[in-house]
């Protein structure tokens, strides 16, 4: 476990790691991170033969027809990220997906439909629609997480949670 926490960059800025903010997505062969995911979801698509990948930081389940920020909503984020992979020259069959996030936060609010859980369901549905295999996930729970992904590390991602624990999926 201590090994993993050492490889999670403490400050992503000084290592040339790109942080993917809410609603943003990036694709390439460089390391990427998405910090402080609460009810949001980080979806990582990885190409196992080209060693490239893409990350999107999803905030809400359904776009309801909105198109300006495809990365913000699960239903538009998945096909958008898939297109990014195609643009990098990926073969559809070598793409695998990982997801992290979707925690249930502030569940005390009565009127609050559990966005975290709805994000998980919507992301999985969208992956199925695009026929992308979900290889691993670390979702739900009640604490925030950050993820770190390096396309050169055979697709695995490192997750650090708000309670200090780290894991690799």
């Amino acid at each position: 476990m201590s090994d993993i926490s050492r490889t999670f960059p403490s400050t992503y800025q000084d290592k040339g790691v790109i942080n993917i903010g809410i609603g943003e997505y990036h694709a390439g062969d460089f390391p990427m991170t998405s910090i402080g995911l609460g009810s949001c979801i980080a979806l990582i698509l990885h190409d196992r033969s080209l060693h490239v990948g893409a990350v999107v930081h999803i905030m809400l389940p359904g776009s309801n027809g909105k198109t300006e920020r495809p990365g913000k909503f699960a239903d538009t984020a998945v096909p958008t990220l898939f297109d990014e992979m195609m643009a990098l020259g990926s073969n559809k069959r070598s793409i695998v997906a990982r997801i992290a996030g979707g925690a249930s936060m502030f569940s005390q609010f009565k009127g609050n439909l559990d966005i975290g859980n709805r994000n998980i369901i919507a992301t999985k549905e969208a992956l199925e629609l695009c026929h992308i295999r979900l290889e691993a996930e670390d979702v739900g729970g009640t604490v925030g997480r950050s993820i770190y992904y390096n396309p050169l590390d055979n697709g695995q991602i490192i997750i650090r949670k708000a309670d200090g624990t780290c894991l690799e999926i």
Binding site: N19, I22, I35, M59, F106, Q108, G144
Partner: protein, 203 residues
């Protein structure tokens, strides 16, 4: 989002009035002087939220705005971890810094949030001539970006920019920092701006 300089000034002034009431109540609870910064009003793109809130652990006490505008968005009291421990230590008469949050801490933080945010909302609403009440509070102690982002998700379906409305309150005796953040949804924001414009026209 179209907001004029004049409207930003008016929002800042509104924050000033709300925050000074909250500062007085914090000062009474901690029995020490509390200083406050000039309120900042910033328009922040949701993708850039991580520049303002990172992975550091903080206590967030969150209230839904209720009353005449319902549901109207959220008010958040944000207290960094160490400040939160010092704050509850001051209230509960403890000096132990190296500990986890317990039930007493959580109750104390909720109580501080309740009093400060009620004062903040009450003063703001009085200025605007409307009724704004805080819902019962919810507390999360988590990475700032994770907790705050989850609140933003509740108001950000239609919008990609939020108005971050923050005032820092500091007690030097206890070395406590806290920030009040107003996160109106788009309807509430336009209502607030309309009321402020009327107020300014009356002057």
């Amino acid at each position: 989002m179209k907001i004029t300089e004049r409207e930003l000034d008016a929002l800042r002034e509104m924050g000033n009035i709300g925050a000074s009431h909250a500062a007085t109540s914090l000062s009474q609870m901690l029995m020490s002087e509390v200083s406050m910064t000039v309120p900042e009003v910033e328009i922040v793109d949701i993708s850039d939220l991580s520049s303002y809130f990172g992975t550091e652990i903080a206590a967030l006490v969150v209230f839904e705005i209720q009353g005449e505008i319902n549901p109207g968005g959220y008010v958040v009291l944000h207290v960094p971890r160490d400040s939160a421990i010092r704050m509850t230590n001051a209230m509960l008469g403890s000096e132990d810094m190296d500990r986890e949050f317990n039930e007493m801490d959580r109750s104390a933080l909720i109580e501080v949030g309740n009093i400060m945010v009620s004062q903040f909302l009450d003063a703001t609403a009085t200025l605007l001539g409307i009724v704004m009440l805080p819902s019962p509070p919810a507390l999360e102690i988590d990475m700032s970006h994770a907790a705050f982002g989850s609140i933003v998700a509740q108001v950000a379906f239609d919008i990609d920019e939020i108005i971050l409305f923050k005032t820092e309150l500091t007690s030097e005796v206890h070395n406590v920092e806290s920030t009040i953040i107003l996160l109106p949804d788009s309807t509430t924001l336009s209502e607030i701006l309309e009321l402020l414009n009327k107020l300014m026209a009356g002057n």
